[in-house]
Symmetry: C2
Subunit: 205 residues, 2 copies
């Protein structure tokens, strides 16, 4: 979409860099911003600047934190220290939190291994993870279980295999979240790989 107005074209161009926003949607959004009251555009623009200015990585788990040096999950005294949940991205933490099924600590890898895209173990927060577990083993509060909550795709699987080997050698109990039929899922519409995994990992009743 080209409007022939430099400022509008520039906004359409910037918006279309966002994931899932094509040129047509970017055009619709840009015209909406143009039509909206001044304060809306100003608040949106401020919010974009603020998020980059205020939010930074937690020095302990590499998730995001705003006011403190460490994030709310690392500083919460009510959470258990002996179970560590490893995720790919900080956004995965809110999802897991909303399930209410986990009350331990987190560790964010910031991606998954992908040799084809040139993502190696050095590009991820794997070394700090190993160091964190090693330190816990010599200290008072030992991490007894590491739960790998990585995506169920090729990159996630590669990372799980890589981490399971290293953590196994370190003598840590390593688990992976279950893959199977989603709740509310109809078996008719589930792909055969998921169904295969669901049968393989069936649960004793």
């Amino acid at each position: 979409m080209v409007s022939n107005l430099p400022s509008l074209d520039k906004l359409i161009h910037e918006l279309s860099k966002l994931p899932g926003i094509g040129n047509k949607t970017a055009g619709r959004l840009a015209y909406h911003i143009l039509k909206s009251p001044e304060h809306f555009a100003h608040e949106l623009s401020e919010a974009v600047e603020q998020v980059k200015r205020n939010v930074r990585e937690c020095s302990h788990c590499y998730s995001y934190t705003e006011t403190e040096e460490q994030c709310m999950y690392c500083t919460d005294p009510k959470r258990s220290n002996d179970v560590l949940c490893v995720v790919e991205d900080p956004s995965d933490i809110s999802r897991i939190e909303s399930s209410g099924a986990f009350r331990g600590r987190y560790h964010v890898l910031h991606g998954a291994l992908s040799p084809l895209d040139g993502v190696t173990p050095q590009d991820l927060k794997i070394d700090p993870l190993i160091q964190k577990i090693r330190e816990s083993q010599t200290g008072d509060e030992c991490i007894t279980e590491v739960i790998l909550a990585l995506d169920a795709d090729l990159e996630g699987d590669t990372t799980v295999l890589y981490l399971a080997k290293i953590l196994g050698e370190m003598g840590v109990n390593t688990t992976r979240i279950a893959h199977g039929v989603p709740i509310g899922g109809d078996i008719d519409y589930i792909d055969f790989r998921t169904l295969g995994r669901a049968i393989e990992n069936r649960v004793q009743l």
Copy 2:
């Protein structure tokens, strides 16, 4: 989606005010902006501010213009003055321009009549339209045809009926763009109202 980080939650909140962007998509976009390099967020935020600062309404057709008092369609000497195309929104102009089928002038109503939502003729740029046509009738360059390129919904239909009556009384030849089967459209999948209109407005071969 709630991240528990005030700046991130604020950005998610602002983004979810955009049309077609739900809370989940807003979350995905906000995390993407957070992960992107500093300059991307800055350029996006600048583009939002700039568009509101630089773009204003054309004083003649009420479309948008950036550098000049009047827009590029009103000032282009190569465009014909005797045909006027009436549209609802400035974004409709880029669509019509990309068809290449129209080389006259434009007039933007900034909406369509909708008694249920309280949109009356006074809320639209209808008075300036009537004045523009009246002035042309007393001057040298008379507008001989007004093409109504309004949406094919209830509001568009209402506005077409309203304008056709007024313009008819002023003795202006008023037309409406054709409604029918879209190019590439399969008759199997066209709704019965569109098909009815296509048959009604059939063209002599």
